[in-house]
C-alpha cells in the first residue's frame, strides 16, 4: 500500500518552501528517514526525510516549485504499484495542483486518471502527468522563442504542459500577466485579467477595489520571536509584480543612465505666460512636465533608435510615439500612455496627460489608458530630486527621468559667470539596443529643444 509523504511544517512562520533538489529519483528505493529532498525556506536550507520505506513512486513537485507545507510531496510504495486511486489531497491544506495524479511511467493499460478526478481542477491544470517530468524547467522550443520575443525568463514560468513542461501558452500567460500587472500595479493587486490574453480590463480593476490585502494565510501564526523585526510583509500581489518587473528589468537589460541638464528659462518663461494667459487660450494648465514631454515627442522624431522595442532577435522601431508617463497614485505607480502623441499640439498633449493622470489617480484607468508605450517619461522633479537613474520598462529601450530645476553656473560670452536655471535630465537606455553616443546625442538634442522651446513650438 503506497504511502504519501507530507512536507512537514518548517518552523512556525513558514507556509511555503522552495523545493531545491530531489535526492531520490522515481523508481529508486528509499528507507524511512532517508533524505528525500532539499527545501529552502526564507531562512535556511533543510532536508526532508521520507516517512515511509519502499520505492519512490511519484514526486509531486519539481525542483524550483513553491510547495505549501503540510501537503503531499511524494508517494512511496511498491514498485509498479498503481497509485491512481490515492487521495493526494487528503493531507492538510490540500495538495498542490497538478501533478498530484502522477503515476509511474511503467503503468500499463488505460489506468491514467482524468484531471477531473485529480484533487485540483484549477485550469489550466498542471495535471495529469502520466508522463513523468521532462526535466528541470523543461521548456518547449516554441515557448523559448516566445519568451525571448517578450523578454521573459521561461524558466521562471510555471509550466502546464505534460510533465510540467513550459509551453507557449504559459509564456503568453506570463507575458500578459506581467504587462497587465505593470499597468495596474497599484490598482489592487489584479495581476490576471479577464480580457483577451489575460489582459486586465477596467472591470477587473473595479472588481479589485476593496480586495483584502494578502495576509499571511490561514491559521494565525504566532509572530517570530526576534524583537528587532517590526513586521514581515509577504511579497505578493502588487509588490510581487513590481519586484519581479524591476528585478527582471535590471537582470535582462543592459542599463546605462546619462545625465544632462537643459536651460529652463524658455520653458519657465512660457509656463508663466501660459498661466497668465487666462482660460480663453486653453493653455493655463500646461505645465513644465507637459512641455518636456512635448519636447521629447518632437525630439524622438529624429531618433527612431530610441523610440523602439528590443525583442531579442529584432529591434522594432515605431513610426509614431506612444508616450508613457509615470503617475504616482494612491494605489502606487501607474504608467498611462498617450497614444499617437506625435500628432498632438502642446495644448492637446497637455489635455490628454491631465485626462489620463486624472483617471489614474481616481482608479479609473482603463485598458486603453494603460496600453504599452514606445517611450516613457518619469518626473521626480517635484520632490527636489536633481538626478536619478530611472529603471527601464522593457521592451522599451529608453526612459527619461526629469529632475528639478537648479541654478547652474554658466560661463558667459565675456568670461563671467551667470546662474541660469537648468532642468535635470536623466536618460536610461538599454545598451543592448542603443549605444551611449546615440543616447547622448538624443539628450543633447532634447536639451537644446527645451532650451529653445519657443522655437520648437513654431516648428
Amino acid at each position: 500500500m503506497a504511502e504519501i509523504v507530507v512536507l512537514p511544517q518548517q518552523g512556525n512562520s513558514v507556509e511555503e518552501v522552495v523545493l531545491l533538489d530531489w535526492k531520490v529519483a522515481v523508481g529508486d528505493s528509499i528507507a524511512e528517514g532517508d533524505v528525500l529532498c532539499e527545501v529552502e525556506t526564507d531562512k535556511a536550507t533543510m532536508e526532508v526525510e521520507s516517512t515511509a520505506s519502499g520505492t519512490l513512486l511519484a514526486q509531486l513537485a519539481d525542483a524550483g516549485d513553491e510547495v505549501p507545507v503540510k501537503t503531499a510531496i511524494a508517494v512511496v510504495g511498491e514498485a509498479g504499484e498503481d497509485i491512481s486511486g490515492l487521495d493526494l489531497g487528503g493531507a492538510d491544506g490540500g495538495a498542490r495542483t497538478g501533478s498530484a495524479a502522477a503515476t509511474s511511467d511503467a503503468t500499463a493499460g488505460p489506468a491514467a486518471p482524468s484531471p477531473a478526478e485529480a484533487p485540483s481542477t484549477a485550469a489550466p491544470a498542471q495535471a495529469v502527468g502520466t508522463t513523468g517530468p521532462t526535466g528541470d524547467h523543461a521548456v518547449s522550443p516554441r515557448a523559448r522563442l516566445r519568451a525571448a520575443e517578450r523578454g521573459i525568463d521561461p524558466t521562471a514560468v510555471t509550466g502546464t504542459g505534460p510533465g510540467g513542461r513550459v509551453i507557449e501558452r504559459d509564456v503568453l500567460a506570463a507575458a500578459a500577466n506581467t504587462t497587465a500587472s505593470a499597468r495596474t500595479a497599484a490598482a489592487g493587486g489584479v495581476d490576471t485579467g479577464t480580457g483577451v490574453g489575460g489582459r486586465v480590463t477596467s472591470a477587473d480593476l473595479a472588481a479589485s477595489t476593496g480586495r483584502p490585502a494578502p495576509t499571511s494565510g490561514p491559521g494565525d501564526v504566532a509572530p517570530a520571536a526576534a524583537t528587532e523585526v517590526r513586521e514581515e510583509i509577504p511579497v505578493s500581489g502588487v509588490r510581487r509584480v513590481i519586484a519581479d518587473r524591476m528585478a527582471a528589468s535590471l537582470r535582462e537589460t543592459a542599463q546605462l543612465t546619462l545625465h544632462a541638464s537643459a536651460d529652463a528659462r524658455a520653458v519657465r518663461g512660457l509656463r508663466a505666460r501660459f498661466k497668465a494667459s487666462g482660460e480663453g487660450f486653453g493653455l493655463a494648465g500646461v505645465n513644465l512636465n507637459d512641455m518636456v514631454m512635448y519636447a521629447v515627442v518632437k525630439t524622438l522624431a529624429d531618433f527612431p533608435e530610441l523610440n523602439a522595442h528590443f525583442l531579442g532577435d529584432t529591434i522594432r522601431r515605431f513610426r509614431g510615439v506612444d508616450i508613457g508617463f509615470a503617475v504616482d497614485t494612491p494605489r502606487g505607480l501607474l504608467v498611462p500612455t498617450v497614444r499617437a502623441a506625435h500628432g498632438l499640439s502642446l495644448a492637446a498633449l497637455s489635455g490628454r496627460i491631465k485626462e489620463l493622470a486624472g483617471r489614474a489617480v481616481d482608479g479609473k484607468a482603463g485598458q486603453e489608458d494603460l496600453a504599452p508605450a514606445t517611450f516613457t517619461v518619469t518626473n521626480l522633479g517635484a520632490f527636489g530630486i536633481e538626478r536619478f537613474t530611472p529603471v527601464l520598462n522593457p521592451p522599451q529601450v529608453a526612459i527619461l527621468g526629469v529632475g528639478g530645476i537648479e541654478l547652474k553656473a554658466v560661463e558667459t560670452a565675456d568670461g563671467g559667470v551667470e546662474h541660469v536655471p537648468h532642468m535635470g535630465l536623466s536618460l536610461t537606455i538599454d545598451h543592448q539596443a542603443v549605444d551611449g553616443a546615440p543616447g547622448a546625442r538624443f539628450l543633447q538634442a532634447l536639451s537644446a529643444n527645451i532650451a529653445s522651446f519657443d522655437l520648437l513650438l513654431a516648428r
Binding site: D105, P110, S114, P115, A125, T131, S140, P162, I167
Partner: protein, 819 residues
C-alpha cells in the same frame, strides 16, 4: 471468369490420360551446304568474328579483374564482372536471325548478349540509320569519344567501336557509357539495337520480357522478345509466374483474333548447368533436362526444345523456327540452350564445385575453336582472314580500353547528378497517335450514365451527409480517371486479378468491361510478381500500364518487381527508359493479418518510386489523373475502408471534367490554429472526428492536413502549419514502428524546431498482426488515440479521460519488447 466459357462437370470429371508430346533434344544436324545457302560465307565468317569479339572482351575483363592489367594498360575495376567465357556461341547464335525489332532481355551475365545483339543489328542496319542512332544516343556523348581518331574505316566499323566502348565505359561507370555509368556490368544495355535491360536479379527478366511481349502484341508492334535467363532461374517463382501469364489461354479463346494471339515471348534458358555453384541437373533441380518444364505449362509444351548452344548455327536455326511461331501468336516458347561457363561465376569463384577434368572437357569442345575449324575445314574462309580478324578485334578492344579507362576522356558522373535521373517527370497525353480501341462511346457507358445521377458533393444543402447510394464515391473518382485515360491513350492497359467482368474486387472497374476490348482490360493469373513485372516490361517498352494488387499484403509476392524493377529502371538506364506504370494497391481491413496491412511506409523507403495515397473522391480522381498522365512509376494506395465515401471537403464536389492534383502537395482538410494533425490514408476521417471533439469539448482548434502524397512530398505546408500551431500529431494505418510519419515528424522537428511547443507525436497502428475485425479498434488508430496522444504528449486536455496509454514510458516499453 467469362460467362462465355462453361466449366462442365461432366467433361472435367471424365476419365482420361494426358499425352505429353515429345520434346526435341539437340536435333540440329550441321549441313554446311545448306548453311552456306542460308547465310552466305560472309555471315558465317561474321559469326566467328562476333564470337571471338565476345571472347576477347571477356578475357580482357578477366585479366583486368585478376591482374589489374591488360595489354600494358593498368586499371582497377572495383565493380562486378560476371563473365560468359564459353557461352559466346549461344549468344551469337541467338542474335543471328533476329532483327533490331526483336528484343533481348538478359541477366547479370549478359556482356556477350549485348555485343551479339548489337553486332547483329550493325550488320543489318544501313549506314545512315546507324550513324543517326549513334549521333542521337545520349546526345552523341558516346559517339564523340570513339569517332574522329581515323581508325574506323566505315560507319559499321565505327559502330563496332561505339558498342565496345559504350559497353565497357558502362561497366567502368563512365558518364559516356550506354547508361551513363548508372547501370554497370549487370544492367548495361543498348535499346536502339534491341538489347534491352539486363537484370542482376536471377530470373528478373522473365516477367519484364513478358510485359514487353504483351506490349508488342497489344500494340501490334513488330518483333519478338527473348528473356535470356539462366537454368537456375527455373527455381524462381516469378519465372514460372511469367510463363503462366505468357501462356494464358485467353489470348486464343477470348481476345479478338485481330490482335494476333499470345504475346511473342521466348523464355531462353542459357543452360550452363550451374546456378553459381549449384548443379541444376543432378543437384538443385529435378527436371534433368530443362526443356521438360514446357510440358508443365501448356499442351504445346511451350514448343520447348533443347538446343546445342555450342553450335551457333544450331541455335540460329531454332530461333528462326521459334520466331515464326511467336509471330503467329502461338507462343510462348521455351528454349533450353545448353552452354558452358568456362570462367567462374565471378572472379572470386575458385570453381571448387566442379572438377578440372570437366572444365578441360568443355575447353576441348570449345565452341569458337570448333567453329573456326568448321569454317576452315569447309573452306568458308581462310586462316589468314581469321587471323586478321583476331588482330582487328584486339586493336578495337585496345582502343575501347584505352578510352574507357582514361578519366580525362571518360569521366564519371558527379554523384549529385544522380538525383536528376531518379524520375523522368514528363507529361504524356498518349504514347501513340492511333485511335484508342474502345467498344462504345463514353457517354453510352452504363457506369458513366449511373454516375451522372450521383451527388458529387457528399454533403447536402442542409449540411447532412448524402446517403452512400447517392453519393459519388471514391471508387467512382478512380473509375473516371481510368476511363478518361483509356479513351485518350491507346497504349493504356489494365490488368490484375478480377479486373474484368467482376469489375475489380472493389467495383472500381465496374463499367470498364463494357467499354474495353479484352486486350486492354483483362484478368491475369494470380501471379503478383508477374503482374507487376510484366507491367514494368510493358511500360519500359513504351506503353502505359495500370496493374492491380488486390490487397496491399500481396506486395510481398511482388517485392522484387516493385522494389528492384519498377523503382530502378528509369535511373539505372539514365533516363533512356520511362516507366509509366501505376500499381494500384488496395489497403484492406476486416480480413486479418494477411489482408489488412498498410505498407505505404515500405514503398516510401525505396528510392525511385512515387507513392500516392488519396483518401477523398476528389483527391482520388485528381491524383489518379496525375499518375496516368506522367511517365514515372507510381504505387497508388487505396483504402478499402473508404471506397464508398463521398466528398466532404472539396467545395463544389468532384468536378466532372479532367483535373490533376498538384504533385506532392498536402491538403488542408480543415483549417485550425491550435494543433496540426497530419494523416495519410483513411485515418483522415478519424482525425476529423478527433478534431471535432477537440473543438467541442476542449475548445481547441485543430488543423487537419491530409498528406495525400508520400513521395514526392512537399513538407513545407506542414511546416508552415506547425509554425502556426506549434504542435504536431501524425496518424495513419501503417504500424507505428518505422512509419513514414516519422520521416515527416523528423523533418518538421528539424525545420521548425524553434516553433515546436511539444515533440511531434506519431500515432500508428500497433506493432502487431492485424487482428479480427472485432478487435481492430485495438489495432488501428482511433480518434481517441489522437486525443490521448495530445493530452499526454502535447497539452493536457482538462477533464480528458484517456483510454489508451500514450506515455513515453509505454513507448519505450513497446520498443524494448519489440511490439
Amino acid at each position: 471468369m467469362p460467362k462465355s466459357q462453361i466449366v462442365d462437370p461432366k467433361a472435367v470429371r471424365t476419365a482420361q490420360q494426358l499425352e505429353i508430346a515429345p520434346i526435341p533434344v539437340n536435333q540440329y544436324t550441321p549441313d554446311i551446304k545448306a548453311e552456306k545457302k542460308t547465310y552466305g560465307a560472309d555471315t558465317l565468317t561474321r559469326v566467328y568474328y562476333d564470337m571471338a569479339t565476345i571472347r576477347e572482351f571477356e578475357n580482357m575483363l578477366n585479366s583486368i579483374k585478376m591482374t589489374g592489367e591488360w595489354e600494358g594498360m593498368e586499371y582497377t575495376h572495383g565493380g562486378p564482372a560476371h563473365l560468359s567465357i564459353g557461352q559466346e556461341s549461344a549468344a551469337v547464335g541467338l542474335a543471328l536471325n533476329l532483327s533490331i525489332e526483336d528484343f533481348f532481355f538478359g541477366s547479370h551475365r549478359s556482356h556477350g548478349e549485348i555485343l551479339a545483339k548489337c553486332y547483329s543489328a550493325i550488320a543489318k542496319l544501313d549506314e545512315s540509320a546507324l550513324q543517326q542512332t549513334m549521333e542521337q544516343y545520349l546526345g552523341g556523348d558516346t559517339l564523340r569519344v570513339v569517332e574522329g581518331d581515323g581508325t574506323p574505316k566505315s560507319v559499321r566499323d565505327l559502330a563496332e567501336d561505339f558498342v565496345l566502348y559504350g559497353t565497357l565505359a558502362e561497366i567502368f561507370a563512365r558518364k559516356s557509357g550506354f547508361n551513363r555509368g548508372l547501370g554497370g556490368s549487370m544492367h548495361a544495355f543498348f535499346a536502339p539495337f534491341g538489347s534491352m535491360p539486363n537484370n542482376a536479379i536471377v530470373g528478373g527478366s522473365a516477367d519484364i520480357a513478358t510485359g514487353s511481349a504483351l506490349f508488342k502484341r497489344i500494340n501490334r508492334k513488330p518483333g519478338i522478345v527473348v528473356a535470356n535467363i539462366g537454368d537456375a532461374s527455373s527455381g524462381c517463382g516469378p519465372v514460372w509466374e511469367a510463363m503462366m501469364v505468357a501462356a494464358m489461354e485467353q489470348y486464343q479463346t477470348l481476345w479478338d483474333a485481330s490482335v494476333g494471339g499470345a504475346p511473342p515471348i521466348m523464355f531462353n534458358f542459357f543452360n550452363n548447368f550451374y546456378g553459381m555453384g549449384g548443379q541444376t541437373a543432378g543437384e538443385t533441380m529435378g527436371f534433368r533436362v530443362l526443356a521438360r518444364m514446357g510440358a508443365g505449362v501448356n499442351p504445346e509444351n511451350m514448343h520447348a526444345e533443347r538446343v546445342d548452344g555450342y553450335n551457333p548455327l544450331a541455335v540460329a536455326e531454332a530461333v528462326a523456327r521459334k520466331k515464326q511461331l511467336l509471330e503467329e501468336g502461338r507462343g510462348p516458347v521455351l528454349m533450353d540452350t545448353i552452354t558452358y561457363r568456362v570462367s567462374g561465376h565471378s572472379p572470386s569463384d575458385a570453381s571448387s564445385y566442379r572438377s578440372k577434368e570437366e572444365i578441360e572437357m568443355w575447353k576441348d569442345a570449345d565452341a569458337i575453336a570448333s567453329y573456326r575449324a568448321y569454317l576452315l575445314e569447309n573452306k568458308v574462309t581462310t586462316k589468314g582472314d581469321l587471323e586478321a580478324m583476331d588482330e582487328r578485334i584486339r586493336e578495337k578492344l585496345k582502343k575501347a580500353m584505352r578510352l574507357a579507362t582514361d578519366l580525362s576522356i571518360s569521366p564519371r558522373m558527379d554523384g549529385e547528378e544522380i538525383a536528376g535521373y531518379m524520375f523522368s517527370g514528363e507529361k504524356v497525353e498518349a504514347f501513340d497517335d492511333r485511335e484508342p480501341e474502345v467498344l462504345m462511346p463514353l457517354e453510352d457507358n452504363p457506369r458513366v450514365q449511373q454516375l451522372a445521377k450521383k451527388e458529387r458533393f457528399g454533403i447536402d444543402a442542409s449540411g447532412k451527409k448524402v446517403s452512400k447510394v447517392k453519393a459519388f464515391a471514391l471508387r467512382d473518382g478512380l473509375f473516371e480517371a481510368m476511363i478518361h485515360r483509356f479513351y485518350k491513350d491507346p497504349t493504356m492497359v489494365a490488368y490484375g486479378e478480377e479486373n474484368r467482368d467482376w469489375g475489380g474486387a472493389f467495383a472500381v472497374y465496374r463499367g470498364l468491361t463494357e467499354a474495353l476490348p479484352y486486350h486492354r482490360l483483362f484478368n491475369s493469373s494470380i501471379s503478383e510478381g508477374a503482374i507487376v513485372g510484366s507491367g514494368v516490361g510493358y511500360a519500359l517498352s513504351g506503353g502505359r500500364a495500370v496493374v492491380e494488387l488486390m490487397y496491399n499484403d500481396f506486395m510481398g509476392r511482388a517485392g522484387d518487381e516493385i522494389f528492384n524493377q519498377m523503382a530502378k529502371w528509369q535511373s539505372m538506364s539514365a533516363g533512356v527508359l520511362k516507366m509509366p506504370l501505376v500499381v494500384r494497391v488496395s489497403v484492406g481491413s476486416k480480413y486479418g493479418a494477411q489482408h489488412s496491412q498498410d505498407w505505404s511506409s515500405i514503398t516510401a523507403h525505396i528510392p525511385g518510386l512515387k507513392v500516392y495515397f488519396p483518401s477523398t473522391p476528389y483527391d482520388a480522381k485528381g491524383m489518379l489523373n496525375l499518375a496516368l498522365a506522367g511517365t514515372d512509376p507510381v504505387v497508388f494506395f487505396e483504402s478499402q475502408r473508404i471506397y464508398d465515401i463521398g466528398e466532404y471537403f472539396h467545395e463544389g464536389g468532384v468536378p466532372e471534367g479532367y483535373y490533376e492534383i498538384p504533385e506532392g502537395q498536402p491538403d488542408v482538410k480543415r483549417a485550425g490554429s491550435d494543433v496540426t494533425i497530419v494523416t495519410i490514408g483513411a485515418t483522415l476521417y478519424r482525425a476529423i472526428d478527433a478534431a471535432d471533439t477537440l473543438q467541442e469539448t476542449y475548445g481547441m482548434s485543430a488543423e487537419v492536413i491530409d498528406a495525400r502524397f508520400i513521395n514526392p512530398l512537399d513538407i513545407e505546408p506542414i511546416v508552415e502549419s506547425v509554425k502556426k500551431t506549434g504542435r504536431l500529431v501524425l496518424a495513419s494505418d501503417a504500424v507505428e514502428r518505422s512509419s513514414f510519419l516519422y520521416s515527416i515528424a523528423g523533418t518538421v522537428g528539424r525545420v521548425a524546431f524553434d516553433y515546436l511547443d511539444a515533440p511531434p507525436v506519431v500515432v500508428g497502428s500497433r506493432n502487431w498482426i492485424t487482428p479480427a475485425v472485432e478487435l481492430e479498434d485495438a489495432f488501428f488508430p482511433q480518434a481517441e488515440w489522437i486525443l490521448d496522444a495530445i493530452h499526454e504528449q502535447i497539452v493536457p486536455l482538462p477533464g480528458h479521460t484517456v483510454t489508451t496509454v500514450q506515455t513515453n514510458g509505454e513507448l519505450l516499453k513497446r520498443y524494448r519488447g519489440g511490439v
